[in-house]
């Protein structure tokens, strides 16, 4: 049995976010609330965003899912916190291009998110990684 290709997927940064999720929980009062799930596998995210003057002041998530989906949610909240809505959406576009294995804008520093690059080689897992980003996009578009 081999594990040689697995390390591209399960990078230590990802497993760190899975074990020690950032921004886990829920923002009370007045926050945008988005519940989204992946009906094919049961992954579920509850995302709360606090947007003021076009800036995402705070972001928290709760949910259930595999290491990729939960780590991605943790990274997403970390990345968008303090960003303007349009910057967050721009980041989301870069992320989705990265998932599709397309050329993406490398002028933007992806920080931890870069570690999810390997997911693009595991087509069955792309939806796990994009769930949290889709929830964020839905939330800010409703705003």
């Amino acid at each position: 049995m081999s594990t040689k290709n697995l390390d591209q997927l399960y990078r230590s940064v990802i497993m760190d976010h899975y074990k020690n999720p950032r921004n886990k929980g829920s923002i009370e009062d007045g926050a945008l609330t988005i519940d989204m799930n992946n009906p094919t596998c049961g992954d579920r995210i509850h995302l709360t965003l606090q947007v003021e003057d076009g800036v995402i002041q705070n972001a928290k998530f709760d949910g259930e899912g595999c290491s990729i989906s939960m780590a991605s949610a943790s990274m997403m909240t970390q990345a968008v916190k303090g960003k303007k809505v349009e910057e967050a959406l721009q980041l989301s576009t870069v992320f989705s291009e990265m998932m599709l294995g397309k050329e993406h804008d490398d002028s933007i520093d992806l920080e931890d998110i870069e570690a999810l690059n390997g997911v693009s080689k595991f087509p069955a897992r792309i939806k796990c990684a994009t769930l949290a980003w889709k929830a964020m996009e839905k939330g800010v578009s409703e705003e």
């Binding site: 049995m1 399960y10 796990c128």
Partner: protein, 409 residues
Amino acid sequence: MLSTDIRSHFPILHQEINGHPLVYLDSGATSQKPTQVIEAIKNYYELENSNVHRGVHTLGNRATDSYEGAREKVRKFINATSTKEVIFTRGTTTSLNTVARSYGLANVKEGDEIVITYMEHHSNIIPWQQLAKETGATLKYIDLEADGTLSLENVRATITDKTKIVSVVYVSNVLGTMNPIKEITQIAHEHGAIMVVDGAQASPHIKLDVQALDCDFLAFSGHKMCGPTGIGVLYGKQALLEKMEPIEFGGEMIDFVGLYESTWKELPWKFEGGTPIIAGAIGLGAAIDFLEEIGLDEIEKHEHELAAYAMDKMSAIEGLTIYGPTDPSKRAGIITFNLNDVHPHDLATVLDMNGIAVRAGHHCAQPLMKWLQVSATARASFYLYNTKEDIDSLIAGLRTAKEYFNDVY
């Protein structure tokens, strides 16, 4: 055990996936297809393709004979009294929806009850949820025992004189539980309710006999029993089907069409609106021939042995939980499990990298996942082409996954 020669009939099995020989343990989702079935479909398109029930020409007659010949094979396979009781559909989902939309809407009223169980697939939940909502009927669930079986006491306690429809899965797609359909049918009938059976996971593995079960309707799919996708069966007792209205209207199902009124063909065709799934039905007929040559009893025995072997080996892995009956003789070749805190998707990815295909997720049975108090599970399901070596590969894969995630989790 069946001979491993059976594998030679399945071309798809002889390939490598991610650099390893394919070990296909997802037959619960869909089975692989033997050459005999693939050839039957090819043969139909190359030599017989034509529309049925209308051609004056020879090809049309050939196609009609093959299509109706497949219906007779299905009749024999489930021991129905007549081919009038065998309706070709798109699959189990369509079959169950047909019962809910046709029989259900005509016979269920406000205050009536529809009874199902916690172990149903979504296809045997949602049609009844919708029917209950539209009619004002109550949808009731029969509770499960701790080991994921049904007790007849609970069945008796749930079905009442208000119950109009009881719909139960024959073999659970998650727990592998084989339910006492004959006994449940009897209880349903004592209360004047009809009995619907979801046979999707039963038809591939066990001998079906609708007369012995005495069920009123039975639904199953071709693709889980070596046949093609897109074809399924609804069996119904003739007396009930005669009184039911079609749910799809158009060509093929009519007798006489006037400007404002039309009449329907006789059974079973009044339920088969539009050009039917001709190649699919012929493929299903070939699948039945294939399964009967081997023998359903032999197939069932083979799967029990594989399940017992797998359960024994899997139980030896520390941290591995198997859901459902612990007695392998009470279950079909379906084993649903979790390994420590490793999420089933992560587990399935590790197995896939080693050529092993298993299912991960909620298996289209969210109420059952809730009952099990898990958000997802992994599932290995076996069929006639699986071997003990396949299970050895699964065990090795599970051990690899356990070690790998021990380090990174």
